[in-house]
């Protein structure tokens, strides 16, 4: 399996390289000029040219690309053209809120969605199933920002239990952390709960009719064991795939939730950087995101083997 992991990691290198070239080219094709953003409305052509020269933006694109790649390979992510802050510092500042939000949301999602999906499949066609189906349709249909504002209105404005906005790192203590993360995590979870509950229900329905489930019932095993230990384990592969992809999506950009709750995460950083044509920041963030996707896909694949003994690497 170690050979498989190494092979997958090595295979990620060309993927990341292609992403790097693609992002670099796309950003330059998109137009926009960081120098114009820095200089503002009153800049003369000469002032713009001076700023471009200072930032190295007047170099040929090939030179700019290889300079960036060279820096990147030596571990230097560059410096923001706009704020002159090292990109590594920017990412470091924004990573914890995003990871915290993603992890909390995915935990909430799994804790709510998987049992819901299992129970809906178990009571297929019954009241519970209909309730879950209706709830998931609602979860899909209501935009995340609406959910966010509704939660803010109820828990922050009316009940005054939780703050409207902001983020407190877990290092400040679990209570401040939970107070600021709970509403955004519920908001972000809403759509994934719907998705994963439906996926779980469908996967469970596939396996509940299998012979081994009937055998388990015939052996007199408790319903809980049949459902969660036998059926769910065999239905887990597609569910896990969706959970993993959802987690990667949360890491790579949850702009709306971060904006509504004013969480200074990577999603907001990415959008800000794109609007300002802050090339080094965008390039680093997209490479980071790509790497996260590669890594999560690898972890998902590895977990298949843990869940299903028939899969071997």
């Amino acid at each position: 399996m170690i050979a498989y992991v190494l092979r997958r990691l090595v295979a990620a290198i060309p993927v990341l390289l292609v992403v790097a070239v693609f992002v670099f080219a796309l950003l330059r094709l998109a137009g926009g000029d960081p120098a114009a953003i820095i200089a503002g409305d009153m800049a003369t052509p000469q002032q713009l040219a001076d700023i471009r020269a200072r930032l190295g933006l007047d170099e040929p694109l090939v030179v700019q690309f290889f300079t960036w790649i060279g820096q990147f390979l030596s571990g230097d992510l560059g410096t923001s053209l706009i704020s002159r802050t090292p990109v590594s510092t920017l990412i470091q500042q924004r990573l914890e809120p995003t990871i915290s939000l993603a992890v909390t949301s995915i935990i909430l999602t799994v804790v709510i969605a998987v049992p819901l999906g299992v129970l809906a499949a178990w009571r297929h066609g019954g009241l519970l199933d209909n309730f879950v189906s209706a709830a998931t349709v609602l979860g899909f249909s209501v935009p995340v920002f609406v959910v966010g504002y509704l939660l803010i209105q109820l828990f922050a404005n009316e009940l005054r239990w939780l703050p409207v906005q902001g983020f407190r790192p877990i290092s400040e203590g679990p209570v401040p952390f939970l107070r600021t993360i709970v509403l955004p995590a519920f908001t972000l979870s809403s759509i994934y709960v719907a998705l994963i509950a439906r996926m779980t229900r469908a996967a469970m329905l596939d396996v509940l009719g299998e012979d081994y489930v009937r055998t388990a019932h015939a052996k007199g095993l408790p319903e809980r064991v049949v459902l969660f230990r036998h059926a769910l384990r065999n239905a887990a592969v597609p569910i896990l795939t969706v959970i993993g992809t959802g987690f990667a999506l949360m890491i790579s950009g949850v702009v709306v939730t971060e904006s509504v709750f004013n969480i200074p995460g990577l999603g907001r950083l990415t959008v800000d950087a794109i609007l300002a044509r802050d090339y080094p920041v965008i390039q680093a963030l997209i490479l980071l995101t790509s790497f996260v996707y590669v890594l999560i896909n690898l972890l998902i694949d590895l977990s298949y083997a843990a869940l299903d003994p028939r899969i071997r690497y």
Binding site: A30, G31, G32, D33, A36, I37, I38, A39, G40, D41, M42, A43, T44, P45, Q46, Q47, D50, I51, A53, R54, S80, I82, S83, R84, T85, L90, Q93, Y149, I152, A156, N157, L159, R160, W161, L162, P163, V164, Q165, G166, R168, V175, P176, L178, R179, T180, V182, P222, E223, R224, S259, V260, F261, N262, P264, R268, L269, D272, L275, A276, R277
Partner: protein, 530 residues
């Protein structure tokens, strides 16, 4: 069901936690900490390299100026007193005692000379000042001597102006940074210190009271007078979502919002715990600029037809909506300012479609498309082109509106290519009134053409001559007369199209008092109760 007891236990645990949450509040903001949401997040910290207003506002927190400007538009001593020689050619600025930089070193005349030189490289008014300057030198530690080569009477006004790039003072080692390169160190002598370690671009900027700052004794007035700081810290919190900032203000999580979106205003106005008011009465001017290099707007008759077709009232109604916060204004310099005069009503953008149609026909317009740049991502400039396109089409123009994000607009407007090859014919932007209130600082009232002119590039020597005449005028009456002539000339030639004035309300909690009216939001003078 077997799972029920576990579920019940989990529910109880969650309930217990939820019960704890209301009593385990986030650390309350310190009693003397003001948390403010500004009109945008600050990312660029050098107030000389950029004209961004948020960076100018940051500048007023940590830097000081030799002169300030009071509410009567008069320059006043701030870091320095000044005197002028009888012939009007030598200005001597004497620094007041006890001025220190935030690193504890004394402010010297040499520091100020270096700061003025860097500022003048970047600022349009500063450039004009330097064109008239024979020498700028330090005399000892406390005196700065500016010797003019020819009469230029606008020196004090330029050093005091609160527009985009004010003449902020920095230590010489920092001011030695080329004006095209952002400064890396943020040390001023102003009323607040910038907390570098707490700065997160796009998230927050933190300022602490500079204990060694000695305010002037005069009462505060705009950027002049005593900058008395009554709070310990000011935190600028970035909040991209207006609804969130409004909720946070009502929930007491922040104290001040610099610009409240007008559609959310009714919610705040009905809250007795909040004050909603316009802090910057001068407000801004929205305007349209044509490209003088290419057809059809290389023809002054067609530019005049377009001016007649455009409507201030319709533009403002679409852009601002609430008549309490906008007004039609014919003056190029902002209504209510010292140089404001109402021009001939026939020259104002009045939306007279029939007349515009006749003028266009008379000018022989051949249907050349008018490429209009429309930013879609910035609320303050996205409505104007839509209204303009409608007005121009109604008058007979063939409008080609091109939507794009604002950063694409600012890049494309720098292109001098034909509109069909990536150039443009017209775009819209906004200015705060101190950026346009006289011909010296107004970047659009120049006629330097392709090489040195502002986007649109009119080649108009007469306009430049009148600007120089204005800068040399010795009396207020003479200035007013020349400014009025410039305005008439600019309207007749449609140098640009003023589309009216607007103001943005601010909002703050009842804990905040003594907010100082000013062209730039300032945090001295204000108080915060417990």
């Amino acid at each position: 069901m077997p799972v029920a007891p576990n579920f019940r236990r989990a529910l109880l645990a969650a309930g217990a936690l939820a019960a704890l949450l209301p009593f385990a509040g986030i650390q309350p903001a310190g009693a003397q900490e003001v948390r403010a949401v500004m009109h945008s997040a600050i990312r660029i910290l050098d107030p000389i390299i950029t004209t961004a207003h948020i960076t100018r506002n940051h500048g007023y927190m940590i830097y000081d100026t030799l002169l300030g400007m009071d509410e009567n538009y008069q320059p006043q001593p701030q870091m320095a007193e000044w005197e002028v020689s009888e012939d009007g050619l030598v200005y001597r600025f004497t620094l007041r005692e006890g001025l220190t930089w935030h690193d504890g070193t004394p402010v010297t005349a040499a520091d100020c000379v270096a700061s003025l030189e860097r500022w003048a490289e970047r600022d349009l008014g500063g450039q004009m000042l330097m064109e008239h300057t024979q020498s700028l030198e330090a005399e000892g530690d406390d005196v700065i001597v500016l010797t003019l080569s020819e009469p230029f009477t606008y020196v004090a006004e330029l050093l005091a102006k609160p527009s985009s790039v004010p003449a902020f003072m920095m230590p010489a080692r920092i001011a030695a940074t080329p004006a095209s390169e952002a400064i890396e160190e943020h040390v001023g002598s102003g009323p607040f210190r910038f907390m570098v370690d707490e700065f997160q671009p796009g998230v927050q900027a933190v300022y602490e009271k500079f204990e060694a700052y000695v305010p002037r004794e005069e009462p505060a007035s705009w950027t002049a007078g005593g900058k008395v700081v009554n709070v310990d810290r000011v935190v600028w919190v970035a909040m991209p979502d207006a609804q969130t900032s409004m909720n946070a203000l009502m929930g007491g999580e922040i104290d001040f919002i610099e610009q409240v979106p007008l559609d959310l205003l009714p919610i705040l106005e009905t809250n007795p715990e909040l004050t909603v008011s316009v802090v910057n009465e001068l407000g801004g001017q929205t305007m349209g600029r044509m490209n003088f290099l290419h057809p059809p707007f290389d023809d002054p008759a067609i530019r005049r037809a377009a001016l007649t077709a455009l409507s201030q009232e319709e533009t403002l109604a679409a852009f601002i909506g609430n008549p309490d916060y906008y007004n039609v204004c014919g003056s190029f310099y902002g209504c209510g300012t010292p140089l404001a005069t109402e021009p001939d009503p026939s020259l104002i953008a009045s939306g007279d479609t029939e007349r515009a149609r006749a003028m266009l026909e008379e000018a022989g317009y051949d249907g050349t498309p008018v490429v209009l740049l429309q930013p879609t991502d910035v609320a303050t400039v996205s409505a104007q082109p839509v209204v303009a396109a409608q007005s121009l089409r109604a008058a007979g123009f063939n409008v080609d509106m091109q939507p794009m994000d604002w950063q694409s607009v600012v890049t494309r407007r720098a292109s001098q290519e034909l509109p069909a090859n990536g150039g443009w014919n017209m775009f819209f932007t906004n200015w705060v009134v101190p950026e346009i209130w006289n011909p010296v600082v107004n970047p659009m009232l120049g006629g330097a053409g392709r090489e040195d002119g502002w986007f649109g590039w009119p080649d108009d020597a007469a306009l430049d001559d009148m600007r120089r005449e204005f800068a040399a005028a010795e009396t207020d009456e003479a200035r007013l007369e020349i400014a009025t002539r410039i305005q008439t000339h600019a309207l007749e030639n449609v140098i640009y199209v003023p589309l009216g004035e607007y103001r943005s309300p601010s909002a703050w909690t009842s804990a905040i008092g003594n907010v100082l009216p000013s062209p730039a939001p300032v945090f001295w003078n204000l108080t915060k109760s417990q």
